[in-house]
């Protein structure tokens, strides 16, 4: 068998195992190990394995992940989700669809801190859905908004998934954060527009509510939110201005978020302990997949599949944009069945060299950044779009009184907005890149 055939066989075997409920991390580890042994023998493989996990984890850049997760856990336990939602609903809640817009606004800020789309969805299902139901929002529409709100944060810095992309594709985290800003805000604006349009056309879905929101409530709400907002500002400002590296920003963010919670007397001992342990659960998932991917990629390198695939596709006389479009379709399909993290770790090592050989008329380092934003955009579509959409599954499992099909129906306009966004970002790379260019 040629090395390439072994590589393809490895991918097929891994997908079969994943389909058979084997944890993604374990299937990468098992198939990667088997493939590695096939090429270099058992004893070389065992030697390779010795210190690999240690040096993989003892990585300064990688420490950004648990640190950001920790920052998010402190923010979550301080009640930030509820506060942000309260603030946004005071600001825009009384307009048509205002409560929905508040959810999107609060999710985009909270999710950026929390770092996990699915966790954001779960949090807001509890923090905002009851309020939406109380104000007679249609439960399916409310659930759809929360599912969408959960993925909007994929692109709002400091998104953890963006950090992971930066690490595996060897891109500059600060530049990626800059690049993600406009597409992220673009997503927020589009979703808010969709809510406005849907709510105006079908007022029964999102009734306007009249509440006496005095200025005292606004100032009270601002008072409870400002420390967390200040922490985000310091974190992002530090990264953008180059004062901090991403790891430093994450460390500073975690410590400051803890201090903010303590000073506001919102973090009790139990919340503190919960945050540490919650960090373990989320980080364990990420580190396990990273370890699996490390071994699988070592195998993949032996097959030379990434280089050969890049050569093959680079040699074809088709437009680079056609290749990009095909890749986007592939990611949307994959996103229907797979979690965003696993999907990226599995595909980037093969797909990235392909992208690098294509000529889009922009410098190579910019292609890496642009591609990352596009991938995260499609990953977001995968998380909410039928027939699966993990975000929809979570919100319906928490909400309990809506069927998945009802939520799918309400989510379609948002998915349409996503496709418009994807088309714009693909056709005009400068939408993503102009901030990066302006700052460098």
């Amino acid at each position: 068998m040629t090395p390439l055939a072994v590589g393809v066989g490895g991918f097929v075997a891994m997908f079969l195992l994943i389909m058979a409920r084997m944890p993604v991390a374990l299937s990468m580890l098992v198939v990667g190990s088997a493939g590695y042994v096939y090429f270099v023998g058992l004893s070389s493989f065992l030697n390779f394995l010795n210190a690999t996990p240690y040096y993989l984890f003892a990585n300064y850049t990688l420490s950004v992940i648990p640190l950001f997760v920790l920052m998010g856990a402190f923010a979550e336990r301080s009640g930030l989700a509820r506060d942000l939602f309260a603030l946004c609903s005071i600001l825009v809640g009384r307009m048509r669809g205002g409560l929905g817009i508040s959810v999107i606004g609060a999710c985009s800020i909270f999710g950026a801190i929390c770092g996990s789309s699915l966790a954001t969805t779960a949090t807001f299902s509890r923090a905002a859905l009851p309020e939406m139901k109380r104000l007679r929002y249609e439960p399916a529409f409310g659930s759809a908004i929360i599912a969408v709100g959960g993925v909007v944060d994929l692109l709002i810095p400091p998104s953890i998934i963006l950090v992971i992309y930066a690490i595996i594709a060897e891109q500059n985290i600060a530049k990626l954060f800059l690049a993600a800003l406009v597409p992220g805000i673009f997503a927020v604006v589009l979703y808010c527009l969709v809510i406005r349009i849907v709510a105006s056309r079908n007022p029964g879905l999102a009734p306007i509510h009249e509440k006496a929101d005095g200025e005292t409530r606004l100032s009270g709400s601002l008072l409870s939110v400002w420390p967390a907002l200040l922490v985000i500002l310091i974190v992002l400002g530090g990264i953008y201005s180059g004062i901090f590296t991403a790891t430093e920003a994450a460390g500073v963010g975690a410590v400051l978020m803890l201090l903010a919670g303590l000073m506001q007397r919102r973090l009790r001992w139990s919340d503190f302990a919960y945050s540490l342990v919650q960090t373990a659960t989320t980080s364990a998932m990420i580190f396990a997949v990273l370890l699996g991917a490390e071994v699988f990629n070592a195998f993949l390198a032996l097959t030379q599949m990434p280089e050969e695939a890049a050569e093959l596709i680079g040699g074809l006389s088709i437009s680079p944009y056609a290749v990009m479009a095909a890749l986007m379709v592939f990611y949307i399909l994959l996103g229907g069945v797979m979690d965003e993290l696993a999907m990226m770790l599995l595909t980037i090592p093969v797909v990235f060299p392909i992208i690098n050989t294509l000529d889009f008329g922009i410098p190579k380092d910019e292609v890496g950044i642009w591609f990352g934003i596009l991938v995260l955009t499609v990953v977001g579509i995968g998380l909410i779009a039928p027939p699966i959409g993990l975000g929809v599954l979570i919100v319906t499992s928490i909400s309990r009184d809506v069927s998945i099909v009802q939520v799918y129906r309400r989510i379609l306009p948002f998915v349409a907005a996503d496709f418009i966004r994807l088309a714009v970002l693909t056709a005009f790379p400068s939408v993503t890149l102009f901030l990066v260019r302006a700052f460098s």
Partner: protein
């Protein structure tokens, strides 16, 4: 799919539950300590124009030990990403049995990883391998990883047993 509230439940009575919970808490504390070190290092860099010597090495070691320490608790709460789309038509009993089987495979993988890391740790301790700036003894940090990976293996067996007994 991870259970987002899992960390909120107090550890169950068994030794492995408590050990994993303690390891997770320890790992989280290590990351918080790393965060504090970063803040201290930035402060000294600003005010004294020099960062704390060996800060990067300490953070690296803390991250490695924390990552290993997170794994058993992650497994206890079934935080690993599993794609269950294709097995939905199957009965719950079959899915549970399959999950328990993969837990056992994971246990085997953890034993092998633990064994190989122990070889690396013993090598590093014997050869006095230390980090370059402040001379951290790498082998001892690896040894912590060995223990955590072994704990992971035990937890995998525990979770498999729980699945089969239907008590998860």
């Amino acid at each position: 799919m991870p259970e987002w509230d899992s960390a909120n439940t107090p550890p169950r009575g068994g030794f492995l539950d408590r050990a994993s919970h303690a390891a997770a808490f320890f790992g989280g504390s290590l990351m918080l300590a790393a965060g504090m070190l970063i803040v201290a290092s930035i402060a000294t860099r600003w005010f004294l124009a020099a960062s704390i010597p060996g800060d990067v090495e300490l953070i690296q070691a803390a991250t490695a030990v924390a990552a290993f320490a997170f794994l058993p608790f992650g497994q206890l709460n079934r935080s690993n990403i599993v794609v269950d789309t294709f097995t939905q038509p199957l009965s719950e009993r079959i899915c549970t049995a399959v999950d328990a089987f993969w837990d056992i495979v994971y246990a085997a993988a953890a034993v092998i990883l633990s064994w190989r890391l122990s070889v690396a740790a013993v090598d590093a301790i014997r050869s006095h391998t230390v980090s370059t700036v402040i001379g951290l003894p790498i082998g001892w940090f690896m040894l912590a990883g060995v223990i955590m990976l072994f704990l992971l293996a035990l937890v995998c067996v525990l979770t498999a047993g729980r699945l089969l007994r239907g008590s998860t």
